[in-house]
Amino acid sequence: MTECSFFFDASRCSGCMACVVACQDQNDFVTGDTVAFRHVSQHEEGVYPEARITSRSFSCQHCADGPCLLACPMQAISRRPEDGTVLVNRDICVGCRSCELACPVGAPKFPEDGKMAKCDLCYVRRDHGMKPACVRTCPTGALDYGSIEEMSEKMREKASIRMLKGSTRSSEEVD
């Protein structure tokens, strides 16, 4: 199994929320209470003139230890053997919301029918060579997806470039 995951580069996220709406356009839960499997939150730290505002896009992390999976009394949640994607079988789900309590990131959603719905990492799209809808649309390239090895490599590379750039930047610092 090649385990897959999302990759999120916080330094690139602008809080534009394109990922949230792309998720809704991909997954048809058009109800009065519309459901997206992603949400974007903003975080402020410090005070004027030093304040910083950062944004983060969250969704199901498809955790390796799968707390939702363990919590489900109906065994409606499973890991896809090919890539570890955590999926819910809505035919079995009884809407008891145990998974909601177990999930550390608030990923399980409950549309009008009361059954759990969550990010499936667009596995059908991936099987057809397409990226997950949120990754595909992310305007700044903050979101990506791939095997855990691939994504760690990408993260390592980004971090080292940032460090190198950082040192260049401080030597050119304007006074």
Binding site: G15, M17, D25, C122, T137, T168
Partner: protein, 723 residues
Amino acid sequence: MGSRSTLSQEKLLQAKIPGEATGIEIKKTLCAICDCRCGIDAYVKDGLLLKVEGSEKNPVNKGKLCAKGNANRQWIYSTERIQTPLLRTGERGDGVFAPISWGEALERISSRLLKIKDESGPESVAFFAGFPKVMRPFLKRMAHTFGSPNYCTESSTCILGADLAGILNFGYATGPASGAELNSARCIITWGTNPFHSAAPQAITYLDALERGAKLIDVGPLKSPMSDKADIHLRLRPGTSGALALGMAHVIIEEGLYDREFVDRWTLGFEEYRAYARQFAPAVAEQVTGVPKEQIIAAARLYATIKPAAIVTSSSTTTQHTNGVQNHRAVLALIGLTGNFDRPGGNHIVPATHELQATGLSHRGHEFEQARPWEEMAARIGQEEHPVWSKLTSQAQAMALPQQIQSGKPYPIRAVLGFGLNHRMWAGSDFMRESLGKLDFFVNTELFLTDSAKMANIVLPACTSFERNELLITPSRFAFWTEPVIAPVGESRPDIDIIVELAKRLTPEDELISQGHEACLDWIIAPAGVTVEELRKHPGGCPLTGCPETGYEKYQEEGFPTPSGKMEFTSLILKEAGMDPLPVYRESRLSPVSEPELAKPYPLILTTGSGLPMYDRSRTSCVPWLKQLRPDPMVEINPLDAHARGIEPKQWVELSTTRGALRARANITEYVPPGVVNMSHNFPAADVNELIDPNYRDPISGYPGFKSLLCEVKESQVQAEYS
């Protein structure tokens, strides 16, 4: 991949996988919710739009879309779309209409407008174009052929003010972003613009530039992803861009960092400009703008010493002030001063071709639009108050329309034929709404029954870009002719087709327009060697090759197209109009400095209309996916100011100015600096433009001072949501 064959057709359909198994086709179109006009892959099955995605080969968005673009399906299929032409049967404004046929609607409109023309002259009919922009050349042509000079647009508050400043300084309309060449600039100033939220798919260009090592200076009162990434953020008080630019100019000149050769050979009025800038030494500029003088000096040195350097301007944030054009002139002057004008990696001037797109291609757009010379028509709306606007732009100033409707001076305006007219765009929007009510006849063409449409005698249903043909030629010379990807919703029609049908009745002598959309486009773009038929062969668009590129430093051969033939620090056009020839700084008419007494009851500075990622003004306010991201009207206020007023997060507050008050939730945030309050335009029932006087305008452009005035915020008596 083992599971691929085992996936049921139902699963494939649910995942919207295109192909034979599902019958889902990908068709190419573009998004026209805002003016970026990103390329779209429309997933269509049995004539129904299932999903959108950005087109990867489209150079505008390179496969990406913003929140609004991703919501196209819900916008297009909104239950609030107008299905048929409507005839008002109730009182103005209460929204009671009866459906009528297109034949009846067109007949009623044309006979009424021709009658009004007969009785009061063609100038008593005004023609207005809001969004989208594709129909503009057609509407302008019809207006002038009809005999009316009063063709006006949404650009009465948008890009043209910045263009005016460019024309006054350089003789060129500098256009969106002032031609900043981001791919090669080594230093970038973003002045009052946040593309991460207003043009998200294009913002990656800035991230790439930063990764390349470009320096970034961000200017603006609000925090944004841009300001967080900047080497220097000049967080000025709203309305003081002119003083900041003059302060930077002072440093650049006195430290000898300016381009002497360019200034000596190619500019007019440098000594006066230099003497004037002396009044804005860094300590003085700090006092006016609130930006620490060390930062002003550092930014000036950085911008003037790194070559090439480009300034990215906004279409409106610097010009929507009572001293807007002069402030913007002061900003643009820095480009000439440092020798970055029309040079690679600096600000490159590329003339607009079609609908203001800077392509530099030859075309007959002006001949097409200006069907009758100005001299053969009456004075334009706003011409008396804003003579420079009328001299330098080719439209009437719509901001003066309500006043003329109400006063009947210098002549009555009896009818308005509107396409996407929204009164909420006007300062004192309630006054504009009231003025619409005084017209003898008002037609609006719209997607939704907006509060403006409710004022109309007849409402015509328009199509979205997915339901029509559209031509786009981008600045990178990517040409794109779209075919409809779904059938029109209800009986809606493309704006241009509606204009063509009306022109057949109103201006039957115009043979060209009566041949329709494609024939007219062919006539306009013929000099570029392009035809619609040829473009049709390339669904999704194609690069135009073989047309000469727009060169750099065009002034070397042609001089500057200004009265003096030079870049004018002292504008001869302004001098002739009896105005200050220098880019002088004046306080906003409503500021703590210009009105200290008024600032006692209204101590906060109100700035309005900054872009939110999920809204383009109130245009997408009926889309649930977007509305849930920000369901209530919100006033941004700094924690310091909120605390001083005992205001709690999310509490309903009253925002008031000398003109009125509204209710919104407090969004307590560092997004705004202390002393500044921001309000955006997403929520029609809490319309901040009602709080701004309709005459609070820049005398040069006629633009309202939307972005700096005085206000106060306090806890509201009513703590309930809007019903």
